[in-house]
Symmetry: C2
Subunit: 212 residues, 2 copies
């Protein structure tokens, strides 16, 4: 397998964690987003959406981090990244989507560029936008975690799931952008538990070959 | 089951389609987003994220449209909303996420409100923002559909999947906001095929009890 990705892309980080938890080897192919390498061949020829991460598995091309992670979980079931019970699976997927649909899309590089270039938003207002969606979004995740008996050492029970896989990269972004995090102690406790695991530590941006 | 939702919410529309395709009866509980009913009790007591749709199934509370749809598919397998093969499932999920993560989050009511209230963006620039993400995002979906042999009468083959379930509500929003759609003929052909099905037609906003 080859993973086309960028060290700082949090959707890429998710897939790196999943591959590491599954113990799967892969070739790391960097695609530099700030240099717009995703918009030009050879990468743009591989995927019309021109987004990282992209996973090549033999002849197959897979895109969208959550779809890739579900695929890895279906094709390499151990260790599972989702619980077995349908209600528990729904809870874990909902937590993952709370990050993937409610926080992350608003703070993508191309969205921040649109704010600056098209809407002429000043740097300070752009930073406030970033922090607003992260701080608000993580507060909603925190409330879901503290309100539910299934929250354990990780978002759901005693082993990492796709919810943790989405949460950790989002918190990394939050820290890089100096977001407030003292209002989400459960989130931070879980992130710490995740980062104590080798799979999460090895997948983090600073451990990537394309890190500055 | 009770579905807490809003006729015009496209994430709500997705779940209504899934319930209709599965032939499941449910009580329709309207939550008026423009009147901010989602932010106050009794709804806000049910979910810290304060987002529709929310599905009550017995004692269980489910949130996030895609997590709800996967739950319905796992607990009521017929007719399936995902293909059986892992690669095909990944393709369908990726198409769904192309809508749910790359288009829809940028045009949520609360995001549009932030543009107006916090960033003081003018109406015309806000409309341009809306159209930009829809038109660009649907172009990426179109390219994925035209580039792949598995595209059929629907996004994947000859019966509707979660990809169609996400696509149709997004196109409804696009039409309501006068977005350009002549660049996505395959998308429009598929939406037409979907709307010819009773399940999609019954789930559409204008058929909802809370429609104006």
């Amino acid at each position: 397998m080859q993973l086309y990705n960028y060290f700082r892309s949090s959707a890429s980080f998710r897939v790196r964690i999943a591959l590491a938890l599954k113990g799967l080897d892969y070739e790391y192919v960097p695609v530099h987003l700030v240099r717009n390498e995703q918009l030009a061949p050879p990468f743009s020829d591989m995927t019309p959406a021109r987004l990282v991460p992209l996973l090549k598995d033999g002849d197959a091309t897979l895109v969208q981090s959550l779809a890739i992670i579900e695929y890895l979980d279906e094709t390499h079931p151990e260790p599972p990244l989702l619980p077995a019970d349908p209600l528990a699976r729904a809870r874990v997927r909902a937590l993952a989507l709370d990050v993937a649909c409610e926080i992350h899309p608003l703070n993508n590089l191309r969205v921040l560029r649109y704010l600056t270039r098209e809407l002429k938003v000043e740097e300070s207002a752009k930073d406030a936008w970033y922090r607003h969606w992260v701080e608000d979004g993580l507060a909603a995740v925190e409330a879901q975690l503290t309100n539910h008996a299934a929250t354990g050492r990780f978002c759901h029970g005693e082993r990492p799931t796709v919810a943790d896989i989405c949460l950790v990269p989002q918190v990394f972004n939050a820290q890089r952008m100096n977001c407030r995090l003292d209002h989400v102690p459960t989130v931070m406790r879980i992130v710490e538990a995740c980062m104590a695991l080798d799979a999460f530590a090895r997948a983090q941006p600073s451990a990537c070959p394309d890190a500055a």
